[in-house]
């Protein structure tokens, strides 16, 4: 495994984004609506207990993770496409370990997802979200998002090895991303959910990433945030390991 070579996949992604940055903006439309419309309206209703934090501030980390997770989870579609072209065949004949390929692609998906941090801060802060924007808070938010999105990208790669056509992949994607979002602490605290949903949200990786983002950006609690990042990395490492083991299946 070589980290330098894995990071080349991140460079590849950034170069592609530079040539065509459309995704950064199209993906930003939905979260802008969530924060700008849903957030501001619900803040007036005051129907959701958020522990003394105003609602707009409360949902900003949730919406940020929603948007990032959609990008990370959609990354597999690229692999489905690369599988139909010759790219994946070529990549698998390069002197790279499977782990380097999966780790690199996961970080590449995470890099794409990370663009949402800047887009959403740019929207939420002017609308009145009260966020800790100190360097430490921002660094922790970046780290949490990077680790979490890398794990979700690995999960997406895993799905791509089984769903080998775009149609099937898009179908499963729809079926997974929205439930993960609603069954998390993104737009309401999990304490208000019915018990079975609460149980699910406690094994939902999104819950932990959003928790870490709140600890960094809202509660200014670096230690608690680091603890959450450790939890998330367990999920991400497991996904990367699993995707590495099964990557060979994608070209069979």
């Amino acid at each position: 495994m070589s980290l330098a070579r894995a990071l080349t996949f991140v460079e590849l992604e950034l170069r592609r984004l530079r040539h065509d940055p459309t995704e950064v903006f199209t993906r930003a439309v939905q979260p802008i609506l969530w924060i700008g419309v849903f957030g501001t309206v619900m803040a007036r209703v005051r129907a959701i207990p958020t522990g003394g934090v105003d609602y707009l501030t409360f949902i900003t980390p949730g919406v940020l993770m929603q948007s990032s997770s959609f990008i990370a989870m959609a990354y597999g579609i690229m692999l489905v496409w690369e599988r139909e072209s010759g790219i994946l065949k070529k990549v698998l004949t390069l002197p790279l370990s499977r782990l380097t390929v999966v780790l690199g692609r996961s970080l590449a998906g995470a890099a794409r997802a990370l663009t949402q941090l800047f887009v959403i801060l740019l929207v939420a802060v002017p609308l009145g979200a009260k966020l800790d924007l100190s360097p430490i808070a921002l660094a922790l938010a970046v780290l949490a998002l990077l680790v979490g999105a890398a794990g979700l990208t690995a999960l997406s790669i895993l799905l791509a090895t089984f769903m080998k056509t775009r149609e099937r992949f898009m179908g499963i994607l729809q079926a997974i991303t929205m439930p993960l979002f609603f069954a998390s602490n993104a737009i309401y605290p999990i304490e208000v959910m019915p018990a079975p949903l609460q149980a699910f949200s406690r094994v939902n990786p999104l819950t932990y990433v959003i928790q870490a983002l709140r600890e960094a950006l809202v509660y200014s609690n670096p230690l608690a945030c680091l603890q959450s990042i450790v939890d998330i990395s367990l999920f991400s490492l497991a996904m990367i390991a699993l995707a590495t083991l099964l990557l060979g299946k994608i070209v069979e």
Binding site: A4, K90, K164
Partner: protein, 335 residues
Amino acid sequence: MPNGFAVRAENLVKVYEGTVRALDGVTLSVEEGELRAIVGPNGAGKTTLMRILTTQIKPTSGDAWVLGRHVVREAGKVRSAIGYVPQEFSVWNDLTGYENLLVYAKLYGIPRDRRKRVIEEMLEFMELKEAANRLVRTYSGGMIRRLELAIALMVKPRVLFLDEPTIGLDPRARALVWSRVLEYRKEYGATVVFNTHYMEEAEKYSEVVTMMNRGRVVAEGGPSDLAKAVGEGDLVSLSLEGDVAKALEALSRVPGLAVASAKNPVLVRVENAQRQLPYLMEALMGNGVRVKEVGIRRPTLEDVFVKLTGMTVEEAEALGFRGAAAMRRAIRRGG
């Protein structure tokens, strides 16, 4: 461990999804420095063979080595020694040609101080210098192939695998791709193994031809030796008007003649067409058979294929079409 060969395969079998037998016991040896063509109709198993040799997929049974390294147990070492250009395009079309080379150079692990020089050298060699900073999306098919070759050759591989390298290219682009491949081989003494279903390309560019059909090797040898297997001499094709049976009866009386295909147009083999054609025509006309058109040619690999399999390449593809379609479905599902 069989050493001394660039490529060695023993009894390779690949079964997709437990049912589709893409390879059915393939054994072959390629000498170092050799230029080897693997030919056969679509669905013959050429691509599956190449994907096993390039460590992408594992054989169901059998063994294969590249430069003495086992393709499953020593896959990492095989990958460090080979160059490969798949049949489908393998570059990112939303990056420039230069960026593609740069990204692949980094993935290959070419050290920073050598990267720029290697890329420049390859752009020059492949005549892509002027297009280097354009998005690949704007490239022609031939340019994309040359870019892919540039990527494969950056690390100066000792064995180069090309899967249908000129498929879909116009004659000029094909010739340019081949001139670059041959030039590289001359300069570095590399082994080149290529798949093609253009038989005339195998005849023109390879030293040894492996002919495959339905997952098996049906013939192997130098292109001209293989053509001799059909028989020495010339082939005469006779486009007939009317009764083929009557024509065959007339032809059976001509000495030194063998019928290669009894369907209209009838194909016969003779030692020397220039000398024998008059007698042949006389016999036909004497039996009241009218000949619309006469063609004389040397035997080709197509004729070898017909002789060995009893069908033309097109017939084999049509026959194998259901099998090939099933195989493609199986590959897609990933059994």
